[in-house]
């Protein structure tokens, strides 16, 4: 699979994946990138992740709180807002409908 194609796929859905990674609990940048990597989405570089977090925070879909730690640098913790949760539900439904159409088409193509 070409890296370019995978990057294109991610482009359309990374913000939803970030929102989805925060449905159960708050988290911070590095931990979110690890969660996405462990889910099989590959390593999302900080240069890509933080602008997305910034944008989602600006749009009011995430709330962020910077906390100083006793040891080491502070962390900014992100959590889903009510609006973020609504957007995730709404947009996930659209993505899954799209995924279903793609899947049906590709399955048919592979079988033929």
């Amino acid at each position: 699979m070409s890296t370019d194609r995978r990057a294109s796929w991610l482009k359309g859905v990374l913000d939803l994946l970030v929102l989805a990674s925060l449905t159960e609990d708050e988290s911070y940048g590095y931990e979110i990138s690890k969660t996405l990597a462990e889910a099989g989405l590959g390593q999302i570089k900080g240069g890509t992740l933080y602008p997305v977090l910034n944008r989602l925070e600006e749009a009011g879909l995430l709330a962020a709180e910077f906390r100083v730690t006793e040891r080491g640098p502070g962390r900014r913790y992100y959590r889903l807002t009510e609006r973020g949760r609504e957007t995730l539900t709404e947009q996930s439904g659209l993505w899954l409908a799209f995924d279903e159409s793609v899947r049906a088409m590709l399955t048919k193509g592979a079988a033929g």
């Binding site: 590095y30 590959g42 240069g47 933080y50 640098p73 409908a97």
Partner: protein
Amino acid sequence: MSDYFDELAALLRDRGVPAERVASTIEELAGHVAESGADPEEEFGPVAAFADGLGGDTGATGDDGTAGDERTAAAGESWSWTADIFADERRLNEFGEQGWEVDRVDRRGMFVSHRDPERPQRWEYRRETVWPEGRRAVAERLAPDGWEPCGTWFLYEYFKRPGAASVGPAAEIGSPPPAPGGRLFFSARFLLILAVCVLLAVVSMWAVAGFGGSGDDGAGFAAGVATGAGVGAVAGAAAALWRLTRRDR
């Protein structure tokens, strides 16, 4: 602190990010590289492009898994602009005809847009007035016709679709015009309403000041209170109008 973060901090300050936010961002990112063990430039990409992505106003969204330099190249031209509610749909379609695709509406109400530098194509836009609980139903209703959400401003939901959905390959633009010079597009109707608000404020202050000019202390005090209340009421009305008809800068 590494040179990379020093430079990033300076660039973010240049882009108007508040000092406190810059400090916490740098600490957050330093923590990231401390945990990952990566080199800052390798992890975040070239510092100027990364600062653009974090600056919040450039539209360098970069959510494609690539580093900053590749991201900037892919993003093409970026432009943030706004229009009032009487002009926004018309302006969206006007700029959509020139190849501008809206990525989102930021919290200041700006349309954060970009244009593909190599193969720009036309975009169509529409605005719907929707209560938050109705957004999904509206998006589902419009999706079969190729419309996808591209931003929200209070009760206004914006949708875009590529011109190819209605005109096919003809949607590609051969030689797009240069990026518009301005960022604010206000209609005559909006400016008229604004002028009426200002006029009301001036008239109310003048009337109350005249009333308080009798030299009587009680009347002067009453005039002061009335002036404050009048100006406050007009300012409040103007702010509400601004919110509803939109966006400042």
